[in-house]
Each structure stands twice: as structure tokens, then as C-alpha cells.
């Protein structure tokens, strides 16, 4: 059974999640990928205000396809997360508590997750039309010039994801592959 959780995340929610848990996320999340991460980090370093509040925030690594007339958003599956690894620890230090993407993270990110109490979820890469159905509202709130890479505020309802890395060092990718590997 999937756990229903609400974003932004409270410390209690993060503590309750374990690698392997299926979740349905409702609430407000933000999109951001390569260039947006660079700009957010540059702003933090320059002491500027960010376009959204990082406290408990969840960032979804996605660059959606354009919405057709009548659609809230186009197809919106996750992009590969490791490209954000250089930026994630600083964002966690400043309050980020959830990341949604696909693929493996590097040890610096995993360490920061333990240190600050954050969680990494995977959404199904390539299930982009299906995922789009759980996004009820979408609004560009920063970096409009970046097109698909702009930061959007999303209202989601039962957005399906799975916990890959929890704040205790659990790693579903490691555990899952070890279980099915054959020599």
C-alpha cells in the first residue's frame, strides 16, 4: 500500500519514510533541472532571495513538454538526477527536504541527506503522460527564459513515486539489484 504524504514535507514525514516505500504525493512541489539549479545556487551564494521557500520543499527534476491548449502541463516524467548532485547538498543545507528524479545519486548527496534529514524519490522515467495526469496546476514562477528548464510551481494530487534513499542510509537501488542479481 502506498503511503499518502503531503508536500512541503515535515520532519516527521521524512523520518517516517524508508527506502522501498511507495508514496503518493499531494501538495505543492517545484520543478528544477540543470540550469535552474545553477541559478538557485548562484542566488544563494550571492545572498539573494529564492523564487520559492526552501523550508521542507520538494524539487522535481523535470523539463516538461509544452502544454497543448486545454492541458495543465505536457508530458512530465523525471530527468536523470546525478546532474543535480553538485548543487543538492547546499540546497539541503538551506531547507530542501525532498528530491524527485530518476537514477543513482553520488555519495556526497547521500551523506547530505543523512545530515539534514532529506529523502530522494524516483518517479517512473518515461511514464511522462501518466505522471502528467497527477499534476493539477502548473505555473512558471522563475527563469521563464529557460523554456523547459524554468522553475514551475506544481499542485500535485497522488503523484506516484518510490523512496530510493531515506535519511537513514537505506538505498533501494542497491537492495533491489542485489536481490535479483545472478552470477
Amino acid at each position: 500500500m502506498a503511503k499518502k504524504i503531503t508536500a512541503p514535507l515535515t520532519p516527521e514525514t521524512v523520518k517516517d519514510l524508508r527506502a522501498g516505500d511507495s508514496v503518493l504525493i499531494s501538495g505543492t512541489i517545484y520543478t528544477g533541472r540543470d540550469l535552474a539549479h545553477k541559478r538557485l545556487t548562484d542566488s544563494l551564494k550571492a545572498g539573494e532571495k529564492l523564487p520559492f521557500d526552501l523550508a521542507g520543499a520538494v524539487i522535481y527534476y523535470v523539463g516538461p513538454s509544452p502544454a497543448k491548449p486545454g492541458q495543465v502541463i505536457g508530458s512530465a516524467g523525471p530527468t536523470t538526477s546525478y546532474r543535480m548532485d553538485a548543487y543538492s547538498p547546499l540546497l539541503m543545507e538551506k531547507g530542501l527536504r525532498g528530491m524527485i528524479g530518476k537514477g543513482n545519486r553520488t555519495p556526497v548527496v547521500l551523506d547530505a541527506m543523512k545530515k539534514y534529514g532529506a529523502v530522494y524519490f524516483a518517479a517512473v522515467g518515461g511514464a511522462a503522460a501518466l505522471i502528467a495526469k497527477t499534476i493539477k496546476k502548473a505555473k512558471v514562477i522563475a527563469y521563464d527564459d529557460l523554456g523547459p528548464e524554468a522553475v514551475r510551481e506544481l499542485e500535485v494530487e497522488d503523484f506516484p513515486a518510490i523512496v530510493i534513499n531515506d535519511m537513514y542510509g537505506g538505498d533501494l537501488y542497491e537492495q533491489g539489484v542485489a536481490q535479483y542479481k545472478k552470477d
Partner: protein, 280 residues
Amino acid sequence: MKEIQFDAIRDAVAKLCIDANCLLGDDVVQAFEDGLKIEESPAGKDILNQLLENEQIARKEMMPICQDTGWAVVWVKLGSGVRVQGGELYDAIQQGVARGYTDGYLRKSIVKDPLRRVNTKDNTPAIIYTDIGPGDGLEIIVQPKGGGSENMSEVKMLSAADGAEGIKRFVVDRVARSKANPCPPVIVGVGIGGTFEKCAMLAKHSLLREIGSVHPDPFYADMEKELLERVNKLGIGPQGLGGRVTALAVFVEAFPCHIATMPCAVNINCHAARHKSVTL
């Protein structure tokens, strides 16, 4: 001489871009269904079911299967008896890609320069490979290629002494190191022989094959079978969560080779294995 109109080529390419991105091939859908029969992991099964559902939504609503609608890689087979009327062939293709990605609400993922990274806003330029031969036909294949799986690809210059086992080890290892990143289940394209760049093109071209098709050369048919078995023993599974179905197929394309070399390229394709063709 057969005359083909510029506009007809442009419009055909635009339609191919949209259809390729929204309508997954029957062979891929079949491969998901076959995968469901052998997948042991509950999470893996769940994902294959979601991919089937995703394909249905995309088809019904004509929206992209994946938000990364890729580089437009275009393969052209041009008969020497064809003359394009009203403009240049390459212009027609580029304009067709721009139109397809714009009118089809496909994502524009191409930046003008690799370091200065400003979006071209219409997904051009397309990457065009042309083969000129006899006849008066014009065949065009559009193969949108996503970035996540492209990033897990590699060329290696092996030597003849490494033999078939050296090639196999490189291929299996490349998939193992890719883990969850290229959205498994994947399709593994392998190019062997030719020059450094030729083998990469062979690998990309092999991804156009239908899943379930058998290599015409029994030697490579056996190699593909063995590689698929070895890859599927890695345990990566759908989306890397652990499972049996890491790859849906392995395709090998070989080419004559220099006596001093044995290049091998692995081009990984995700389950969003998209390509559509037309003959004008």
C-alpha cells in the same frame, strides 16, 4: 527522374516527428507484455504495467510518451533517380523538424552551443545521415533520441586480441554501470568495426531494428542472445529497482574492420524506443 516536392518532404517529416513521439511501436508494446510474463519483481511488474498505461494515454491524447522528445535523428535513403522540386532536401527536413516539434507541442531540447547553452527553440538542427543508392524512392526515418540514455553510451577502441569475449564484457559492463539512469528496461545497440565514428553510427542504426527480429548472421544472432541473457542477469530490472527485465533487446551491427583495430560502440536506448518511417 522522379520529382518530389519540397513541401511534401517537409510535411512528412513534421508528421513523423509527432507520430514517433506519441505512438510507441507495436514491437515495444509487445516487449512490455512479454516482459510482464518473466519479471519476478513486484515493483518491476508494476512499472511495466505503468509503461503500458502510459503508452495508452499518449496514444489517445497524442501527447509525448516521454517529455524528453529527444534529438531528431533522421536517416535518409535517397534514390539517385529522385529530384527534389522547390528547394533543398536538407532544408525540407530541417523545416519539417521545426514544424513537427512546434505544432506537435514536443519539447525543444537542443541548445545552439555545447558550452554557451542557448536553446534554438525549435529543436533544430536535426542530425541527418544520408545514404544514396539506385532507384527513385526517398525513404525517411525519424528516430527521436533521448538524452538520459544517450549519456550512458560509450565507444571503446578494443584490439583484435580481445576477441568476442572482450566485446561482450564491454557491452555487459556498460549496461551494469548505467544502472537506473537510462530508464530501464533498455534496448542495447552495439556497433562493432569500422572507424571510431562509424561504429557509433552502427550502434545508433541498430536501434531501428524491430524487437523480436533475429540477426541474419547466425554468429551475431547467437551473440545477441547471449548478451541479452547476460544483461538480464545483472538484476537491474525495470527502472533499476531490481528485477529480471533490464533489457528488452540487444542489437548488433558489424562492419569491415582495419587490421589494427576493433572499435566497439554501445548506444543505449530507453524503453521509449521511438522511430517512424515513410517512403515518398
